[in-house]
């Protein structure tokens, strides 16, 4: 357990101190959302209608951009080989790294989303649901992304292959997350969407570390 905590804090400190990785991801998130009012026009009704979807898509892309640093630097400098040899099971190591990745990207994204939600004209209740959906859904993004990041270690044109693998897998959280806000707009209530989204995150929490660890073992073989 000490090894788990050590790895978690090491990754978190690296992410927060190393050249503002978190800041860059947040900056990309904000810029991607701000582009849309220029593209579709500043009409408040239209922005309100598509706002939650825009913010969720921007969050997916931001998470995607940050995935390559999940294992890549450890793979390059040989730290991954040491992790594979250590007594900490590789599945738990993946879990620690995903938790640190979520703290450094998913959580800031969710916390920044209320500001962006005001820009796209969502009202107070919808802002709460959007933030809740991001808080519940972003762990799944980190976990699912870890599988693809582990699979593409050492690949040619890693970034492109990574996006091709990850984006189809990100469709279910996107549908549920943006659907939650839309359901509360139309009066159906967001509860069911948020519950299924939570189930998705929990399933990812249970399954993805196994797949990532299997992929990592092949990468360091």
């Amino acid at each position: 357990m000490a090894a788990f905590g050590g790895l978690f804090w090491r990754d978190l400190r690296l992410a927060l101190r190393q050249g503002g990785d978190t800041g860059l991801v947040l900056g990309f998130f904000v810029l991607a959302v701000i582009l849309f009012p220029f593209g579709v026009g500043p009409e408040p009704a239209i922005l309100r209608r598509i706002g939650a979807g825009i913010i969720w898509v921007a969050a997916l892309l931001s998470a995607l951009l940050s995935l390559d640093r999940l294992f890549e630097s450890d793979y390059q400098d040989g730290g991954l080989d040491l992790l594979a040899l250590s007594t900490l099971p590789l599945e738990l190591a993946v879990l620690a790294k995903c938790a640190a990745h979520w703290m450094a990207t998913g959580l800031p994204l969710a916390l920044a989303s209320p500001v962006l939600a005001i820009i796209v004209n969502l009202d107070l209740g919808e802002i709460g649901i959007l933030t809740a959906s991001l808080l519940i859904g972003t762990p799944a993004l980190s976990l699912i992304g870890s599988v693809a990041a582990a699979l593409t270690l050492g690949a040619r044109r890693q970034g492109v292959v990574l996006s091709v693998l990850v984006l189809p897998l990100y469709v279910p959280p996107l549908i549920l997350g943006a659907g939650a806000v839309e359901a509360s707009m139309t009066g159906i209530g967001a509860r069911a969407y948020l519950l299924v989204l939570g189930a998705l995150s929990l399933a990812a929490l249970a399954l993805c570390p196994w797949a990532s660890a299997a992929a990592l073992r092949q990468a360091v073989e």
């Binding site: 599988v147 040619r156 292959v161 091709v164 189809p168 299997a214 992929a215 092949q218």
Partner: protein
């Protein structure tokens, strides 16, 4: 049978003998099936002649799912028993499966235009099949992304197993959500709800698609095996030449001058 065939030399002999049978068999069955479904089979009382798109669309959809399942099983075998032959089979099947999925999507789109009034609707069945298509593309991209082909094969195997979560979603999408796409009408509890006059040509077409898949798969696997053999021959010839003739050949010197 699988164990017996999982030997490249034996597979080579076996496939050389049976490939023409599968190939010509597929052509014959598909010819009969096409004639039956496009000419003999009755038109639908609601959809008219557009229903004939079904005879391509449905077998292609079945094959899209089955080929992915085949890839996943072969990948599991490759991961568990480290058998390189399973990896070759999975890798050879992927582009065929992607093509079947594309045929399924394209014919479905052509069928949707007159029936639903739209080329594409974002319903659960269509979306999940589209995601299956992206899985095929991702698998092909990942397998070919490594300088070391065996590393690509193993990464692809893990991906294929991850992607299998999509198969039940596709199969049951028409039951779980209330969608525009019609529910299952052939494989269902209480027997098929489709008329026998349409079921028979549909099954013939499905058999033709299966034979076609087996023939293509054998052909592609033979190609991969031959490529590896050629590579091995070239490598051994190269090392032999290096060992016997360390100095460059005189003709090359004159050419350089």
């Amino acid at each position: 049978m699988i164990n017996w065939l999982a030997n490249p030399a034996r597979f080579g002999r076996f496939s050389a003998r049976t490939l023409p049978w599968f190939g010509w068999g597929a052509a014959a069955v598909l010819a009969v099936g096409l004639y039956w479904s496009l000419v003999v089979a009755p038109a639908d009382y609601q959809q008219g002649d557009t229903v004939r798109i079904m005879y391509i669309h449905v077998p292609a959809a079945w094959m899209a799912l089955s080929v992915y399942f085949f890839i996943a099983v072969a990948s599991a075998v490759a991961l568990v028993w480290r058998h390189p032959f399973a990896e070759i089979a999975a890798r050879a099947a992927a582009p065929i499966g992607a093509a079947f999925t594309l045929i399924c999507l394209a014919t479905g789109s052509l069928w949707g235009r007159p029936m639903w009034g739209a080329w594409w609707v974002w319903d659960a069945r269509l979306t999940s099949v589209l995601i299956l298509f992206f899985f095929y593309l991702g698998y092909i991209a990942l397998v070919n992304a490594f300088d070391d082909p065996s590393r690509g094969g193993r990464a692809g195997s893990v991906l294929a197993l991850v992607g299998i979560v999509n198969l039940p979603i596709i199969k049951f999408s028409v039951d779980w959500w209330n969608t525009l796409h019609q529910p299952a009408s052939v494989v269902r509890i209480g027997g098929p709800s489709i008329a026998l006059a349409m079921l028979v040509p549909l099954l013939i077409m499905a058999a033709g698609f299966c034979l076609f898949f087996v023939a293509l798969l054998m052909l592609r696997m033979r190609t991969v095996l031959n490529e590896r053999k050629a590579m091995a021959l070239r490598v051994s010839a190269g090392t032999a030449a290096l060992q016997t003739e360390p100095e460059p050949m005189p003709s090359m010197k004159t050419a350089a001058r």
